[in-house]
């Protein structure tokens, strides 16, 4: 083990304090930089960082051990290979890729090669669900990694990716465009228009459009902005939730890259409307490769006076955006957990009330919106609300950008109007033979064929964008197991129903697979699932047993088939 010089670390920490600030919110970016340099976060680094920020070392240890991308016990390899283990990559054959990686490197998942060149790890959703199996090597993403490609990728690593044939940024596969993806409006135009009207008029246009949050919960955007704007506070914040971690969702990755200007317009318009002077893009660590690109876009806007002081000569309107990286925690997609993470704490959801619009980042009024919401808001302000109101249903206006993966002929990104039936959606994507569709990711619902006439809409089946299709031969118990493994790993552990309930459900699934679960016990598990839905603290915990319950209800015959005969 290499010797780490305390004095040298302290010098580096001082530099990082200068770069990120000396308050608690600097903790995560500081640890990220230190891990990048030293390969892991040994006790000495945690202690010295704690000392420098004036917090207890146990607090720092608590933060470092919470996030899956931090490593405290062992120096990781020069190349950390993270293979996506979530459902879409599982359907695409990730298990065979995993075995090939282990064979090639001679280590198991979770281990590091003796030469400290490679570490093998599983990770959850990399946002490449339509191009799986996917893996991440440091900040470089690889798609469609079938076992035959493994040795080439390993060889590329050994050559430090010199002359690699794999693309640096994997292109998104957009299959169907609509008014959002097709729009010809230049970024900056919506912002110019917004600055020419009053703040109440901006919120009025958005209210009139009926825009609801695109992250999945569907809270009206205008109300969020209005409440934050009217809330007392000298400092207000705008946060873009770019922590797209829901399995089966990959449209935000495309929007970040393809619609960057409109996203930054939307955030700046939001800032103007509520009176904020600072914004954050909370970018998931799996999208680290996009950071440089986004930094460049922010710099360009600063040079064009689209960020900074007196934006576009609007006296007194000062606003800038900072990128903050997540560290591999699904729960940070929940807005209060995200704020905790931004502040340098474990990403554990807060109690509500108070709400972020009143008590958000560092206790100040904050709006947290999804990437798609900011882009759509910018387009509504830039044009008007008529085009938007004409599409969708009365309660779910406009179009939704969907990420379609799984067993269909044409997986990819689709922009479709709200209100489309699942039958029509399946026809569009070439998945007519599906026996089930998971809408809304791991926390969504598993819809069986009998319910395919239901529509995708907030008032019927809501979604943040994830659509995973299961063909006739898929084992639904396997699907339920994958989702529960995901929640067992990603539960923040704060509340008991979610922390202990989900492992119990997973245990039940394993018993079911062995034919050792009785009907009575299965009913008990269902009741436990309902208790988790009722008693968990945050929205993610409350929705964690959704897939399990809907699979048990819709595919009972498949499940019951594994119960020992004597139980009937």
């Amino acid at each position: 083990m290499p010797i780490i010089d305390r004095q040298k670390i302290n010098q580096e920490i001082e530099k990082l304090k200068f770069k990120f600030g000396a308050d608690r919110s600097a903790l995560l970016p500081m640890l990220q930089d230190l891990q990048e340099k030293y390969g892991y976060l040994p006790d000495i680094i945690l202690q010295e960082t704690a000392h420098a920020l004036g917090i207890h070392p146990v607090e720092v240890e608590g933060v470092a051990s919470f996030y899956s991308f931090f490593r405290t016990k062992e120096r990781q390899g020069k190349y950390v290979i993270r293979l996506c283990q979530t459902i879409s990559c599982d359907l695409a054959g990730k298990t065979n890729t995993a075995r090939q990686l282990e064979n090639e490197l001679g280590i198991k998942f979770g281990d590091t090669t003796r030469d400290h060149l490679f570490t093998l790890a599983y990770t959850n959703c990399l946002g490449m669900c339509d191009q799986g199996p996917a893996l991440l090597i440091n900040d470089r993403l690889f798609s469609r990694v079938t076992p035959d490609k493994v040795s080439q990728i390993i060889a590329d690593c050994r050559r430090d990716f010199l002359k690699s044939e794999f693309p640096e940024v994997v292109p998104s596969d957009i299959k169907k465009t609509g008014p959002i993806l097709d729009n010809k409006i230049e970024a900056v135009e919506p912002l110019k228009k917004a600055l020419s009207i009053s703040r109440s008029e901006i919120i009025g246009v958005i209210r009139d459009s009926g825009l609801k949050g695109r992250g999945g919960a569907g809270f009206p955007t205008a109300i969020k902005w209005q409440l934050a704007g009217a809330a007392k506070g000298d400092k207000k914040y705008v946060v873009c939730n770019a922590d797209e971690g829901e399995p089966g969702t990959f449209k935000d990755r495309m929007l970040l890259y393809e619609k960057t200007g409109l996203l930054l317009d939307g955030m700046t318009i939001g800032a103007y409307a509520i009176g904020a002077s600072k914004g954050f893009i909370y970018l998931r660590s799996e999208y680290l490769y996009m950071r440089k690109y986004l930094e460049k876009a922010l710099d360009k806007r600063r040079n064009q006076n689209l960020l900074g002081n007196n934006i576009l000569q609007k006296e007194g309107f000062n606003f800038d955006i900072e990128i903050r990286m997540g560290v591999g925690a699904y729960v940070c997609g929940e807005e209060t957990a995200l704020i905790e993470s931004l502040e340098g704490y474990r990403g554990e959801p807060r109690n509500r009330p108070p709400f972020p619009v009143d008590t958000g980042f560092q206790g100040n009024p904050t709006i947290v919106n999804n990437i798609e919401t900011f882009i759509t808001a910018a387009l509504i302000v830039g044009k008007d609300s008529d085009w938007f109101k004409k599409l969708g249903t009365e309660k779910s206006r406009g179009t939704k950008i969907l990420s379609v993966s799984g067993d269909c002929e044409r997986p990819g990104i689709y922009e479709l109007p709200f209100g489309i039936t699942i039958t029509k959606l399946l026809k569009e994507v070439g998945g007519e033979n599906a026996k089930a569709v998971q809408i809304g990711g791991a926390s969504g619902q598993c819809i069986a064929r009998k319910d395919f006439e239901h529509t995708i809409a907030y008032e019927d089946i809501g979604t943040g964008g994830s659509v995973i299709i299961f063909g006739p031969d898929r084992d639904m118990l396997q699907v339920a197991e994958n989702f529960l493994e995901f929640f067992v790993e990603e539960s923040c552990g704060q509340c008991t129903p979610c922390r202990l309930g989900n492992p119990k459900l997973l245990e039940g699934i394993k018993l079911l697979k062995q034919g050792k679960c009785s009907v009575a016990y299965l009913n008990e598990l269902k009741k436990l699932g309902e208790t988790i839905q009722l008693a968990s603290k945050c929205g993610l915990g409350q929705s964690s047993p959704n897939a399990f319950i809907s699979i048990i209800e819709n595919f009972g015959s498949e499940i019951l088939g594994r119960i020992p005969q004597e139980e009937f």
Partner: protein, 123 residues
Amino acid sequence: MAKILIVDDDEDFVTAVALVLKKNNFEVSTAHSLEEGMEKFETSHPDLVLLDVIMEQPDDGFVMAQTLKKRSSSVPILMLTNIGQVTGMDFGKDEELAPVDDFIQKPIMPSKLLEKINLLLKK
């Protein structure tokens, strides 16, 4: 006799406040939603509006205040909030987004309410 319009979706609250105001020689009209509030504003021509923030939508009170401001109404608005009770939200004056004259927190002490109303009417 000054006329006061109370707009709040909580019927019990409206009844109780109306009782206090009538007892203190105010003429009172009431509404329980944003739409009804706008209608009553047109018909009852109040001298002051007592307006709740959260009704059918969490920001209905602000929408009504903004609409009245757009119509160049000079009728003072006293906004009812419930800090720490339901939403925990604390609102402040904002010429555009919260164009009201003053705030009063629920639960309301009748004497405090009358004091604020009289002050705004004098202005």
